[in-house]
């Protein structure tokens, strides 16, 4: 099989080098390939929109980088970065110690609390006791999943994992879940939709645990690419200072998403 692969590799190499010109300049920015409003979501013409897309454009423009948005499956986004399919992750990825073992992060560019929403009229509290015996949905490989696994699962909560946030929300609306834990802003955006208004309401923020939830969301980078990391950090600081960050944030939020 290896031999066949090699033969194939050469054959494809000829095809690739002839067909696709490798542009060394453009950086591929990985974004989870599923709707995650209000941060990243495709619109009806297939274009990606949202706060994080604007952040990416502003940051890349400031750092004089040519960035190309590249949708990738969320559960494979870190392998995609390490295997060089993409060069950066700008996909609401929280900076955690666990992830820092594999990849590097820029400074944080936003930070919001973690909350829980649940079916209307059902008595649910964002505590281990208040969720006992309930089905709680989380997205895989997120800080919320890690949090739920640490605090809720041992207390008798049925934690179910979803590939995308959208699927978890949908299953909550479909009555397959009693509650969903996620980023408070993403949840409030869901509650503002027709589907969300009808089924659910906000049950509250979960208790702090910085060790699991981390200091905020950063740009994911490969380890050892310090030059790029410095560029990104400088750019984030620059757009914070010159007001660009606040200008596009105001279009989406009525509070400071950067946190403190």
């Amino acid at each position: 099989m290896k031999k066949a692969l090699k033969v194939l590799a050469v054959a494809t190499a000829i095809a690739v080098s002839g067909g696709v010109a490798a542009s060394a300049e453009a950086l591929k920015v990985g974004v989870a390939a599923e709707p995650y409003p209000p941060f990243t979501a495709p619109d009806a013409s297939g274009k990606w929109e949202g706060w994080e897309v604007e952040f990416m454009n502003a940051m890349c423009a400031e750092a004089k980088l040519e960035c190309v948005l590249t949708p990738v499956a969320w559960d494979g986004i870190i392998p995609a970065l390490t295997s060089k399919k993409i060069d950066m992750i700008i996909s609401s990825m929280s900076i955690t110690d666990e992830r820092l073992k594999t990849i590097d992060f820029s400074d944080k560019y936003y930070n919001t609390p973690t909350g829980i929403i649940g079916t209307k009229g059902v008595d649910i509290k964002p505590t281990p006791e208040g969720l006992n015996g309930k089905a709680l949905g989380v997205q895989v490989s997120t800080v919320h999943q890690a949090y739920a696994a640490k605090h809720f699962a041992p207390a008798g909560v049925d934690v179910k994992e979803y590939q995308t946030q959208d699927e978890a929300n949908n299953d909550l609306a479909a009555g397959r879940l009693d509650a969903v834990q996620a980023d408070a802003i993403a949840l409030k955006a869901f509650l503002a939709t027709d589907q969300g208004k009808e089924c659910c309401d906000y049950k509250g923020d979960v208790a702090e645990d910085v060790a699991v939830i981390g200091p905020g969301v950063g740009v994911g980078l490969r380890k050892g690419e310090t030059e790029l990391k410095d560029k990104v950090n400088t750019a984030i600081k620059a757009i914070r200072d010159n007001g660009t960050y606040d200008t596009f944030s105001k279009k989406y939020f009525d509070f400071d998403i950067y946190g403190d």
Binding site: D75, P79, K101, A135, V140, E161, Q163, A174, G175
Partner: protein, 274 residues
Amino acid sequence: MTNETTHAVAFTPEDLPTARSFFVPHRIVMMLVFAAFVVAVAVFMRWDWLPRYLPRLGWGILVSLVMLFSTAILGFLLAVPIGLVQVTGPWFLKLPAKVFCTVIRGTPLLLQLWLLYYGLGSLFPQFPAIRQSFLWPYLREAWPYGVAALTVSFAAYEGEVMRGAFAGVPPGELEAAKAYGMGRWTMFRRIWLPRAIHRALPTLNGETVLQLKSTPLVATVTVVDVYAVISKVRQETFLTYEPLLLLALIYMCLTGILVVAFRTFENRIPTRGA
């Protein structure tokens, strides 16, 4: 799908090597190289996560196998009438059966599964009658949708095989049964069905291996089978190669066991005149 294509896409008993064929000089060398490769993989790659996940992996394999056998048996039970009505049924049964087979075989299983789980599943709770019925605790779960999608798919592919099998039973045998004074039902039960199943058996193992290869799709709708356990390993350890290699190995072993079991089973059935 013809038997030849099933054989081309699924590993079947004809591919099993004989024990003696291994002892050829170049094969011994190749096996040594392979053994060195396995040792290298075991030594140089990270496997420290394995003991932690072993119980969950065992459980996942069990879920995959239950999915496989329950849907293959249910699907086969559905395939018999689907095949039969296409051969002898009146047009109002023949047509739906034909459409069913064409539609299911003409669209990807992943899409069918998502249609059932996200499409139909999001429709159900809007009817209070369904939400209050005794079925609701099951409709809330993911596995009934996985079982339904896999069963329907197996029924469509095997239904096509059964159609050919029913049509292929020599008319002389059926005429002989009639001459013996058998009624239609007796003839069907004693001659036609057993002979058709006998003719379909060789394809059945290929189709079952194909069904095994389809089971990991249910992991995309939150059923925790062996594929989902490995996905979890990938997400928690950030390893790419090791868990996937192990998963491929697990499926190869499952396929191997399945194929050997089928061959033993087939050898017990006399095939003279088939």
